[in-house]
Amino acid sequence: MPHDHPHDHPVSRDHSEPRPAFAALLDQVLKVLDDKDILTTAQVTAQIEDMDGRTPTEGAKIIARCWDDPDYLDLARTDLQAAAGQVGIAMPAYPKFVLLDNTGDVHHVVVCTLCSCYPRPILGPPPVWYKSRNYRARVVVEPRDVLAEFGTTVPQDKKLQVVDSTADCRYLVLPERPAGSDGMTQEQLAGLVTRDSMIGVTRLNVPVT
């Protein structure tokens, strides 16, 4: 391996409640910001409600419409911010949002090796594994092994492209439309789309009924 890194790391605390000292610190910070009129409690509450409304279900609407509407697909490829707006997702002007087409020739998978950049306005907060040390360390060096852990096999003759979200772009993967989904409505198509397929760690299938 290219770099020495002998230390063992403790198990991630991301699956648990904060320790009391951090819960207390948060209360102190919120109170001071409110006292100084930097941020009000109402602003914090409104921001939480806004973020609660941003989920992979919203992103799935973009994907379903891309599969179903060629003009919309063109728009999403050139201006994903505008395309997200058209399905009712309020988007910030910054950063730049980019659609990555997964096709018969190339499969994209997204990571942020330096921190945890993620298309939050479209998908909501990232899953814990996306932020984890092991995902961030490994997916750029053994992506096919990492995808296999997610149950995904990319054929040997298909190019795999890992996209490291290092600066000012946030990426949404457009998964391949699954075989057998012909004739479905956009709502039915959106129901097939998973969060992980929009990060690129999985592919989609039509469930066998």
Binding site: K36, P125, A137
Partner: protein, 96 residues
């Protein structure tokens, strides 16, 4: 500069795919981050938060939860940028 945060290619094991719904603590810290780096409050930039997190010891970077890290960094920045006086917050220190 420490490269504690710069993880691409480092030896690492299996990925824990356990799902975790954000707690109320997580959501409030997430909201603080969005608001304090946002255009209205504009208290500091995302890159200032990143730079502060990147200055943490390995004990803090890997020992704190994701949102504990963010909260600690934002508390330090509020002091550094002069919004609050040093000593206002009880900021937990990493065990060495």
């Amino acid at each position: 500069m420490s490269r504690t945060h710069d993880l691409g290619g480092l030896p690492a094991g299996k990925i824990d795919q356990t799902e975790h719904e954000p707690t109320f603590f997580d959501k409030r810290v997430d909201a603080l981050y969005a608001l304090l780096t946002g255009p209205k409050a504009n208290a500091f930039t995302m890159d200032e938060v990143r730079r502060t997190v990147e200055s943490f010891s390995e004990a803090d970077y890997f020992g704190l939860s994701y949102y504990e890290r963010w909260l600690k960094a934002m508390s330090l920045l509020l002091i550094e940028k002069g919004y609050v006086e040093d000593g206002t917050f009880d900021i937990p220190q990493a065990k060495s």
